[in-house]
Amino acid sequence: MKTAMKKLLPVAASLVTLISASAFADYEVAIAGPMTGEYASAGEQIRKGAEMAIADINAKGGVLGQKLKLEIGDDACDPKQAVSVANAMVNKHIVFMHGHWCSSSTIPASEIYNEAQIPMATVSTNPKVTERGLKNIFRIMGRDDQQGEIGGKFLASKFANKKIAVVDDKSAYGKGLADEIAEGMGSKKPVLRESITAGEKDYSGLVSKLKAAGVEVMAYGGYHTEVALILRQAQQAGLKLQVLGGDTLSNNEIVGASGGNADAVMFTFAPDSRKNPEAADVVKRFRDAKVEPDGYVLYAYAAFQLFQQAATQAKTVKYTDLQKALAGGTFNTVVGKLSFDAKGDLKSPGFVVYQWKGNQYDVLK
């Protein structure tokens, strides 16, 4: 009995070390965004996309033979909370970050990831995100100056004879985008330039102001929840208003929240990846799992495809090699082929103007 124990002991011990070794060798990757708070629905999209991506990657053997483990950080789109999330993620020794979502969170948090040498892929669109010379940031979405220019030009040509107001919600994303749209409108000048406070319920003051100025079209930099409220209140005040905004208005919450006025909403967004033939299989599996892969779901999925391919190329997850692979490579993802310029911006970003119709959005021709 005793000898049997003695013989088994080293085996047991080596088993234990094996288990713990593999547990420690799992690669921790992370997402961060508004999992709670007003924009929690976007956080949910990111989480759903990331979870599916991680499950798929792990089912195919993981990255470099190691399984991925997903950490989720909640910044509630609050810059202060974003910084503490970033610090917590650094302490968890993550090797890759997809996030954050709000530009105002991504900007401060990225400094911390940069210092800790963690590469990140973000969908934040404010130009400043990649303008600070940080080498660890890769943006898998276009920039606000690109979408603002397209939105502004569209407004100026389509609504040449109508009065246009430009409104923002004072956030880094919203104000940046609104400024870019106003600039993109060129010689067509907005009749009003206003800011509101996000998170409130009553925008009747803004609505009266728009109405008194005879505004028919509002360019809006900000998130969908406020647009929905403004539209409802405009309807109550007898104002027919059309809205053009950015990528965040692709959230389907706007349909119910605007009380049947969503058809008046247009927005710029990257070409719809759900129609991408290479994404067909993934899209189908999302729908089978009762998740509509709209908005940021596929971007989150693509972020981890990006990580998996870059790490495979670099044959390591060490920052210097991984960063080099990300910066130099071209990656096949569900949102199309991705490659980055020297700043970390997409080489060929595209923006298209969409319009809501019923509970679907489609390209506006």
Partner: protein
Amino acid sequence: MGQFIQQLINGLTLGAVYGLIALGYTMVYGIIGMINFAHGDVYMVSAIMAVTFITLLSALGISSVPLMLVLVLVIVIALTSVYGWTVERTAYRPLRNSTRLAPLISAIGMSIFLQNMVQITQGARVKPVPTLLPGSLELFTANGFTVHLAYTQILIVLVTVALLIGFTALITRTSFGRQQRACEQDRTMTALLGINVDRTISLTFMLGAALAAVAGVMVTVYYGVVDFSIGFVAGIKAFTAAVLGGIGSLPGAMLGGLIIGMIESFWSAYLSPEYKDVATFVILILVLMFRPSGLLGRPEVEKV
């Protein structure tokens, strides 16, 4: 002129809602001298319940809007009062005789708890309801600006006025009102006279919650969108209204609510929607500088 009248209407509606929530703050402060920070979240819970019951009742085939509104109001008021009672019973009564700070902290804890509870059980997405009372009266047109008075705005103002009349009668004419005012003045003495102080305090909490429930239903009908985070901003605004009017004073809370509603409404229409909160708080500071106990508040007299 048209815009002025329109903003007057909008401000009145907004102020009525703030006032209804502010009454809950001021009543609780009056009776136990603490700020019930969870009050804004009780209001949020009632708004979420309103969405649930509006959806449920329309699924059950009730299409008459007045009937639906009355039913929703009754159900939500009843359930929210239970919330008010539970909050008081679990978070404040056990701390009745501890330091002043303890219930304050437990109120903040309660507020976070309610918010997270709704977020987890109901999800984080905004909850829309279809417009129940669509349409508005076109009052008149001046300089090409047509003034609209939405039916929901009429509803809110009427319900608020009716509630205020009933509420004033309750406080000034019933025996519960006398007990409530007695507790406000001197709890020990009231208890010595054989009045159940704990019960009176519980009822006050339930009453405050009921008023918040009315506000919650009105807001749901008016704005059509609620989510788990609306309690915070509304709570802060209503608390400001209560302080502005003089915390502890019931007419003061309503007056404070109306003033804040008007300031916000006119400031955002004529100046900039961006800085309307600055305007509100500047006026609050000015009032408190010259009348530290608020517009209608009585200064606290040290009893000897």
